[in-house]
């Protein structure tokens, strides 16, 4: 277990990082919690790692209701930040449901969003995986696919995205700031990720050497009182989601003004439930509205041999999450 040796360099600053990362076979090292697992499993084989962990991209800033997370902020620091806890509690909840205390101290926001799928076919040498080795097939498709996606998959790849934080950020409409050799750009979180289609080897729309620098979360004060991150797992802790739901409601005069709803464990990227959100707007947060939104959430689900239970689970999880926050204050 472990891939071929790699070389190590440390970036002096952000621009130095871009330069170093432009060398072929270079990979960014932040917290290292996913990169080292992938390397030890033989799923990736970087020629060198460029250590960006000491760059000053770790600030958590809150102003005018908007939250800005430095991509190198550690998960535990974000979750314990007073402004995050008060104004964006959904983010804190999602982070605290992730991984373990040790990992949260090491892992960064950017690394968490960019983590590779937990699909065992991807992470195990010798198993068919188009994401790891294009053209080798998708072993999960007709193999062990309990973890597989319900939406957004293709016959080339049925892997899911495992980040809890990404699901919460998706529900809150976050944007990502990216820096590359060409300059800086800002894009909705959704556009950071790619569906597998015929090119599952590309998880993201980042070009080579591009660095995620910051995550911007719009004002979520209207949601703060009614948001929840529901993570369904086989064991009570320290496990990736089987299915998860991030839900946030803005209710005025007994009616839903706005809803933020996203699901994890069901798609190759955090799955925003836009149509469910729309169906909730204007309605009272009662059983019928909730059930209707949940039903919409599972429409067009395409289960495989072992993950069919996730359809009912997603439906029920959406209902449960909305019930939790939809009641009277």
């Amino acid at each position: 277990m472990s891939g071929p040796s790699f070389q190590y360099s440390r970036a002096a600053n952000v621009h130095d990082a871009l330069v170093q990362a432009s060398r072929p076979g270079a990979a960014y090292l932040a917290g290292g919690t996913d990169l080292l697992q992938l390397w030890k499993a033989g799923a990736i084989a970087p020629a060198e790692v460029v250590d960006i962990s000491s760059l000053s991209l770790d600030q958590v800033e809150f102003s005018d209701g908007q939250l800005s997370l430095g991509a190198l902020a550690r998960l535990s620091d974000v979750a314990s930040h007073p402004d995050v806890k008060r104004h964006h509690p959904l983010i804190a909840s999602a982070i605290l449901a992730s991984a373990s205390g040790q990992i949260r101290n090491m892992a960064t926001v950017g690394g968490n969003l960019l983590q590779r799928t937990r699909c065992a076919y991807f992470r195990t040498e010798g198993l068919a995986c188009n994401k790891r080795i294009p053209g080798s097939g998708c072993g999960a498709l007709r193999g062990e696919n309990r973890q597989a996606a319900l939406f957004g998959a293709s016959t080339s790849c049925v892997a899911t995205h495992a980040s809890d934080l990404a699901v919460a950020l998706a529900a809150l409409g976050a944007e990502v700031e990216v820096l590359g050799a060409e300059g800086q750009r800002r894009l909705p979180l959704r556009d950071l990720y790619r569906l597998p289609a015929a090119t599952p080897e590309r998880d993201t729309n980042l070009t080579a050497g591009e660095l995620v620098t910051r995550i911007h979360v719009p004002d979520a004060s209207r949601f703060a009182a009614r948001s929840t991150y529901l993570k369904v797992r086989d064991r009570a802790s320290f496990e990736f989601a089987v299915v998860s739901v991030a839900a946030a409601l803005h209710i005025e005069n007994g009616r839903i003004v706005e809803a933020g709803l996203a699901a994890g464990g069901v798609a190759p990227l955090p799955w925003r439930l836009t149509r469910s959100e729309a169906a909730l707007v204007g309605r009272a947060p009662g059983p019928q509205a909730i059930a209707a939104a949940a039903e919409i959430a599972v429409e067009h689900a395409r289960p495989l041999a072992h993950n069919g239970f996730k359809v009912a689970l997603l439906r029920n999880a959406v209902i449960r999450a909305l019930q939790t926050i939809g009641g009277q204050p």
Binding site: Y8, K40, S53, S100, G101, Q102, A236, S237
Partner: protein, 156 residues
């Protein structure tokens, strides 16, 4: 910095400075166990899933098997060897013994380091301890006694 296969690293471990030249791919766990012969920190899975390799880096618990040593240059590391001795046990170590919070002992150093860090977070009840310790696996089933030991030190 140009990329290299062997990196100069300065690590402050249990109060002592170590100047080392480490392979780029070595983790903190590799350095502790194989380079420095500090075998109190255990390798259970080498993949971040079991927590037996837990140490403190600047007082925060981390999994040393996922910590690239070169990336921890200049950091202050605490291992089980830095927590009490046979003749002067740390309060938590003594509690582990009294509560029989161990059996085979292989996960124990990691549980203790993790527990120490958790105590700093002031867990409010047993449930918080259990949740907070869930990154440390135990196959012998010493969990209830581990939690009891931590709870005693926490004054719960």
């Amino acid at each position: 910095m140009l990329p290299g296969s062997s990196i100069s690293v300065s690590l402050h471990i249990n109060g002592r400075d170590h100047q080392l030249s480490v392979p780029a791919c070595d983790t903190l766990l590799d350095v502790l166990r194989d380079t420095l012969g500090m075998t109190g920190t255990k390798k259970g899975c080498d993949m971040g899933a079991c927590g037996a390799c837990t140490v403190l880096a600047d007082g925060r618990r981390i999994k040393s098997c996922l910590a690239l040593a070169a990336s921890y240059d200049g950091r202050s590391i605490t291992t089980i060897e830095g927590i009490g001795t046979l003749n002067d046990l740390h309060q938590l170590q003594a509690a582990f013994i009294r509560h029989d919070a161990l059996q085979c002992g292989y996960c124990t150093p990691g549980q203790i380091l993790s527990g120490l860090a958790l105590l700093d977070e002031r867990p409010g009840n047993l449930e918080a301890i259990r949740e907070g310790m869930s990154g440390n696996l135990c196959r012998c089933g010493a969990h209830p006694n581990i939690v009891a030991a931590i709870a005693e030190v926490a004054g719960l």
